[in-house]
């Protein structure tokens, strides 16, 4: 086990509730891969979209506070949720460039900023820190014959110069990870389109329209399933899928996996440890058909 692969883990609110299977599968997968995760004690909500929507100073302060808490735990910060990742990286970016905002945030959290630690999304840790070669050696059940549509959504790569995870308009990091564990990927049009995100609460009609286009595109490209790295994207694609099928008179039946669940299957973790039973669109028939269960 590589001693350098230890991280302070920031799950974010969704992973403790509606995205419990993302949290579970992340812990199980990282354990198998020999990557240490220590959850940051008493982390706070990052403020998500509502905070930066109406109160940037609050959003920056919440992120700075979380980075201060993370600083007490060994290792770079590992973030699972694409939205939390985006907020934390944005805070680093803005506070690094704007002295006025920096001073305001220091006053708000009543402490000097400790925001220089690295903030990494799980994808970054798997693809770069662990490395695809080492990931390949952990695979004992390659996902042969499984056609995956990798869905990035908005915040993993945008805007330019902020997340710095991969190319903003033509990223390949998800495809590279999932091809490493034996799956096929499809070329499709809606990899980076918005799912409607938190409008799921206030204006679900928006989500139904945008998410339908994503499901339609994945289906047309011949995908068996969609892979995501964000609990909001997952909620909209998975939880609302039945409703969308009803509205558009469509039949998608498209399981939506978290990246850690699919990679988890390839390293031999069983369904229970990956929380596959929590998925609303049942993935079992597909996995049985492909001989993966």
């Amino acid at each position: 086990m590589d001693k350098t692969l230890n991280y302070s883990y920031y799950p974010g609110c969704s992973l403790h509730a509606s995205a419990g299977e993302y949290d579970l599968s992340t812990r199980e997968l990282f354990n198998v891969l020999g990557i240490g995760l220590t959850e940051i004690p008493d982390w706070f909500c990052c403020g998500a979209t509502p905070a930066h929507n109406v109160d940037e100073l609050l959003s920056l302060s919440l992120c700075a506070k979380n980075m201060e808490l993370a600083d007490k735990v060994e290792g770079d910060m590992a973030v699972a949720c694409a939205a939390c990742f985006s907020r934390l990286k944005t805070a680093q970016h803005v506070l690094g460039e704007n002295d006025v905002k920096r001073k305001q945030v220091e006053k708000a959290i009543d402490a000097p900023l400790k925001i220089d630690g690295k903030v990494k999304h799980l994808l970054d840790i798997i693809a770069r820190d662990l490395g695809l070669e080492r990931l390949a050696t952990a695979v004992n059940k390659p996902l042969t014959g499984l056609k995956v549509a990798c869905y990035y959504g908005c915040l993993l790569t945008r805007p330019t110069d902020v997340p710095n995870l991969d190319c903003t308009e033509a990223p390949t990091i998800m495809e590279r990870v999932i091809e490493t564990v034996g799956a096929e990927t499809v070329d499709w049009t809606h990899r980076l389109e918005c799912c409607g995100a938190n409008f799921t609460l206030s204006r679900p009609g928006v989500v139904i329209q945008l998410t339908n286009a994503i499901l339609e595109s994945a289906k047309a490209a011949g995908a068996d399933c969609i892979m995501v790295a964000c609990p909001l994207c997952h909620g909209n694609l998975d939880i609302r899928q039945k409703e969308i099928e009803g509205v558009y008179n469509a039949d998608y039946n498209m399981p939506v996996f978290y990246l850690t669940q699919l990679v988890g299957i390839s390293v031999g973790l069983d369904a229970e440890k990956l929380g596959l039973d929590a998925m609303i669109v049942n993935p079992m028939p597909l996995l049985k058909e492909k001989g993966l269960l």
């Binding site: 403790h16 706070f44 909500c45 509502p50 930066h52 708000a108 928006v206 945008l210």
Partner: protein, 194 residues
């Protein structure tokens, strides 16, 4: 409904407000040359009465009231596509944040109440509990927006799948979050922050 005719004159152009937006967003609306790339890529433009490029044009002309009166700013999903693709590096997503903040602080005048209600409840939850609890958020939203039956069919399914937690714990360091909120309020009272 017939639209009010727009008159551009010294009386109707309020550029001070626009300067405030630029300061908050740390970007310039003047750099925009109306290529329309932001609106072409905007997933939400279809729901807005003023697509993103027109929001910027109205700001350039000092016609911010027209923007705030509508629902456009509240229908922005913060997907950052516009900021990413702008050839002039206008940070439009940040401008949307600044407009929402100024509109929010002034408690008006947009009619888009659902998005604002969701934001308000979300922020109240952070202040009270330190984290977001989706079950509480959704339940209170439905009650306060008068949509008692919204997503009613989803609830039991989500609870059965363990996706909605009926109970939750509180952070041990909750007092620190309250301090952050109240320090920011204090700074604003003293005029030290917008």
């Amino acid at each position: 409904m017939k639209k009010k005719k727009m008159v551009i004159s010294q009386e109707t152009m309020d550029v001070d407000f626009v300067r405030k937006v630029e300061a908050l967003a740390d970007t310039s609306v003047r750099r925009c040359f109306q290529c329309g790339k932001c609106s072409a890529g905007c997933p939400m433009a279809t729901f807005m009465e003023h697509p993103p490029n027109r929001v910027v044009r109205l700001l350039q002309l000092g016609q911010w009231r027209r923007v705030l009166e509508g629902r456009s700013i509240w229908y922005c999903a913060s997907c950052e596509t516009c900021s990413t693709r702008c050839p002039n590096k206008v940070q439009l997503a940040s401008i949307m944040d600044a407009l929402r903040k100024l509109s929010w602080d002034a408690e008006g005048p947009s009619k888009e109440s659902y998005v604002q209600l969701a934001n308000k409840l979300f922020l109240q939850n952070i202040r009270t509990y330190g984290r977001q609890y989706e079950m509480r958020l959704a339940a209170v939203f439905n009650v306060k927006s008068g949509q008692f039956l919204k997503d009613l069919m989803l609830g039991p399914k989500l609870i059965a799948k363990g996706k909605l937690k009926m109970f939750h714990s509180k952070n041990k360091n909750l007092s620190e979050i309250e301090k952050i909120f109240s320090r920011i309020e204090e700074m604003r009272k003293k005029g030290e922050a917008l």
